[in-house]
């Protein structure tokens, strides 16, 4: 396949697998960091069995000379320290005839992998490791990979030195020896998956996960209070924020459950502190009643939902875009709120920061739909640009005769008095209320406050950030969140065939933007909706809120399998009649 070779020079995909304590995640992280230091871009995703410690694990990397956000159609190199339960990753690690399977001497790779027609190579990994005092196979593996892809060993040595410093010089020396030794054992395969390294060093690259990016976005946006309950796969976001908040004079409180965490946010925000929590589907379900309270009492809060497979406990460690419905429709009553979705690791920063700005400015609740795929992917990216979005809440700072917290009129946003402001005392309420805040069940008050809470969101100008729009074609692909990355790759593949498609990926899912969508769809005659959910939730959302003269077509695939670019290409060629 000519195309494969071309692509291989600029992008290489590597899967490292092993069981219980083999250290493939460590090796993967080190490889990613070393590639970044060599000026490459890349991503690493992780997949593991349900075991707390041990069990089969896979580090899946893609290293490239250009920014990458998703995995390729196939993996070039599959390297196993052992094959125990490795076949469980078969669907997540597609191989082709050009792929290379590497394993321990005399250990037969599972047929599930060899059926692909990939070539195989046996290496005495254990023996090479044993030749070094304290040597470990995962370090040997690192050397092997570097040799295959032509990555200089120097940046890897630096990574080992900085990451193993705590373990002492002996640990560094033995790891370096193993790496070098592994690199020397590839024989004729050396450089067979050569990545074209640029002599130009990228000057400002970051190594960051989506969860960390969201945390940083939160702090940049002004969040100083977080209350949370640990949940996979959102926990790392919270674990990053706990010490980070202390550095900026904020605090993270571990609450007794999600009911408590969301209500602590409401209390802190009522006092004037921008507040956020992170959770996953089950936690979001618990929080929904009080998210409605934030909406009704007009108290800004932000909830980041790092989605995982559902329903119920579902698949905690793996990704799915199936919380769209609960985020959009999950609140009882008519409760206008914000729903936003980041579409890349880097965008987790921007979108979270924007969500805080919007929630604060519009005095409402914002739900940010990230997912396991974005949150737990570690990526080498260009430094995200600084954006000016910070909390900008409208505050009643001075005493005011006849102050009305929920005054109607204007753009619907009424200045909020914070406790401590004399003469403006009021009671915030989840009961329907008059403009003063006093509970009211009168039809006029209800109508007026419903209008107020809707209009302030609908009338706000969200600007071009509402969506990412690319391409000019008459056939559109509408997608969202982490599904955007494979769709963009698919577009690049189609472009090389002379086909241009139009991509529309809304970052702002609620309130809907009918006029902007209409503009984005001008001239489009057919559209495919790509999403990672079994129930085609995004497809139904588009049909409900953005009806068109043409019919939307649906490509909905449940998690945890990522959507692959070639799948999208095939679907577009069929459905788009190319």
């Amino acid at each position: 396949m000519e195309e494969h070779k071309d692509r291989a020079s600029s992008s290489i995909s590597i899967a490292l697998i092993g069981s219980g304590g083999a250290g493939v995640m460590t090796a993967g992280s080190m490889l990613l960091e070393a590639a970044g230091r060599a000026g490459l871009f890349g991503i690493m995703t992780r997949s593991a069995g349900p075991q707390i410690r041990g069990g089969e694990a896979a580090a899946m990397l893609r290293l490239a000379t250009f920014p990458v956000e998703s995995h390729d159609n196939e993996f070039d190199i599959l390297l196993a320290i052992d094959w125990l339960n490795a076949d469980r990753f078969r669907a997540e690690i597609p191989l082709g005839t050009q792929s290379l399977i590497i394993g321990e001497t005399d250990a037969e790779p599972p047929q599930a992998f060899t059926d692909s027609g990939a070539r195989t190579l046996e290496l005495p990994l254990k023996q090479i490791a044993r030749e070094t005092d304290g040597g470990r196979e995962n370090m040997v593996v690192l050397g092997v990979v570097c040799s295959l892809i032509g990555l200089p060993l120097e940046p890897l040595h630096q990574v080992l030195e900085s990451l193993l410093k705590r373990k002492g010089q002996a640990a560094i020396d033995s790891s370096v020896a193993c790496v070098d030794s592994g690199a020397a054992h590839t024989g004729k395969h050396q450089g067979s998956y050569q990545l074209s390294l640029s002599s130009e060093k990228q000057c400002d690259l970051w190594n960051i996960s989506g969860n960390e990016a969201a945390g940083l976005g939160a702090i940049r946006g002004g969040v100083r209070f977080v209350a949370a309950y640990p949940i996979t796969p959102a926990t790392e976001l919270l674990e990053w924020m706990a010490p980070a908040l202390e550095q900026v004079g904020g605090i993270l409180v571990q609450a007794e459950d999600e009911l408590a965490s969301v209500n602590q946010l409401i209390g802190a925000s009522f006092g004037g502190t921008p507040s956020l929590t992170a959770t996953s589907g089950p936690g979001l379900a618990l929080m929904t009643e009080s998210i409605g309270l934030a909406v009704a009492s007009e108290t800004p809060i932000v909830v980041v939902d790092v989605m995982r497979g559902g329903p119920s406990t579902g698949i905690p460690t793996k990704s799915e875009q199936s919380d769209l419905n609960i985020a959009i429709y999950g609140l009882h009553g008519d409760a206008p709120h914000l729903v936003l979705a980041p579409m890349s690791v880097a965008d987790c920063l921007f979108t979270t920061q924007w969500a805080i700005h919007l929630a604060e400015k519009l005095q409402t609740a914002a739900i940010v739909l990230s997912d396991q795929n974005l949150g737990q992917t570690r990526a080498i990216i260009e430094r995200p640009a600084d954006v000016a979005f910070v909390s900008g809440r409208s505050i009643q700072e001075t005493p005011m005769e006849g102050y009305q917290r929920y005054a109607v009129g204007g753009n619907g946003v009424s200045p909020m008095a914070l406790p401590g402001t004399a003469g403006c005392q009021y009671t915030a309420d989840g009961l329907e209320h008059a403009p003063s805040g006093i509970p009211s069940s009168r039809a006029e008050d209800h109508r007026q406050q419903l209008d107020k809470r809707r209009d302030k969101l609908v009338n706000h100008d969200y600007g071009d950030h509402w969506a990412l729009i690319e391409g000019e074609g008459e056939f559109a692909v509408i997608t969202w969140g982490s599904s955007l990355a494979p769709v963009r790759e698919a577009r690049a593949m189609l472009l090389s065939d002379g086909i241009d498609i139009r991509i529309i990926a809304p970052r702002l899912l609620l309130p809907v933007q009918p006029e902007r969508m209409q503009q984005a769809l001008a001239g489009v005659t057919g559209a495919l909706v790509v999403e990672q959910s079994h129930g085609a939730q995004f497809f139904h959302y588009l049909q409900a809120f953005y009806p068109q003269k043409f019919e939307f077509m649906s490509m909905a695939q449940p998690g945890p399998l990522p959507i692959r670019p070639e799948q999208v290409v095939a679907d577009i060629k069929t459905r788009g009649k190319y």
Partner: protein, 282 residues
């Protein structure tokens, strides 16, 4: 007081009252509790704008709107977390949480225990009438097991009542007292003491619902002052609770546990320093 009030004249109980008319039934004990709140605030000369009263859902949870302080009428059972989030980020405020036995001990039961454990400097007042009044007469966690007039439990609840003082002590509350709405002045003194004591203070106020539990009119004859002074020793307090008949009035426990007071001083300037951890050193 370093906080300047809008008026230099001493504040009276009525200055803490709002113009909103309570929804409560005539004869409800909560009127006296409202009065005890305003008396306590006047006794402490609190600046109304620096007090926040937070509640959940239920008859008694309507209290914030009847006060001329800041208030938050939150959802059922979750008033304590709202109070905790506020007090941690605004330690300058006097934070009080108020509500009923259903709100605090049933739907909010876990938050009650965790709030006792966390020991944030705030006061929690539960107006206990052993019935759900707002939904018109169902058994609550503190209802006797053989009360047969609960509309969802016609044969009685047949389950053990919740014992708030024991739970509060076992969970780590730093101040535990019981008062009666039949003695608003006494209740005001207990609330004052509770607010002034550091850490999480819990006050159960027996507050009859004569609409759904008319027999509670007799509470005024049954309540009696505890014959002993408050102890700082949890073991002594626990022994006293063994012989509690649920109608002792007074302060049981004044602990010496250190309140949860995390440092909170938001700074914006160092946010960009956090980036350095992500930067590749090429």
């Amino acid at each position: 007081m370093d906080q300047t009030s809008t008026s230099t004249a001493a504040l009276k109980p009525k200055d803490y009252k709002s113009d909103t008319k309570p929804v409560w039934c005539p004869g409800c004990g909560d009127f006296s509790v409202l009065s005890a709140f305003t008396k306590a605030m006047a006794a402490m000369q609190l600046d109304p704008e620096r007090v926040v009263v937070i509640s959940g859902i239920g008859c008694s949870s309507r209290i914030p709107a009847y006060l001329n302080v800041y208030g938050f009428h939150a959802v059922h059972g979750r008033a304590l977390p709202v109070g905790i989030g506020l007090k941690i980020t605004r330690p300058d405020l006097t934070v009080m949480v108020a509500g009923g036995d259903g709100d605090g001990f049933s739907i909010g039961g876990n938050h009650f225990m965790q709030a006792c454990r966390r020991n944030v400097d705030m006061t929690y007042v539960v107006m206990d009438n052993q019935v759900y009044g707002m939904t018109k007469g169902q058994a609550s966690p503190t209802t006797e097991p053989d009360w047969e007039r609960g509309k969802l439990t016609p044969h009685g609840t047949r389950i053990n009542p919740f014992y708030p003082l024991v739970i509060a002590l076992a969970s780590g509350a730093n101040f535990i007292a019981r008062a009666s709405s039949n003695d608003p002045n006494g209740a005001a003194r207990v609330i004052t003491e509770a607010v002034q004591h550091p850490g999480f203070s819990f006050v159960q106020i027996l507050s009859p619902c004569i609409t759904f539990r008319p027999e509670q009119r007799d509470w005024k004859k049954i309540v009696h002052p505890a014959p002993v002074v408050a102890t700082a020793d949890p073991a002594v307090a626990a022994r006293r609770l063994m012989t509690d008949d649920n109608f002792f009035i007074g302060t049981l426990f004044k602990g010496e546990r250190v309140p949860f007071t995390p440092e909170f001083e938001p700074r914006a300037e160092s946010a960009h320093e956090l980036e350095t951890a992500f930067r590749m050193s090429a």
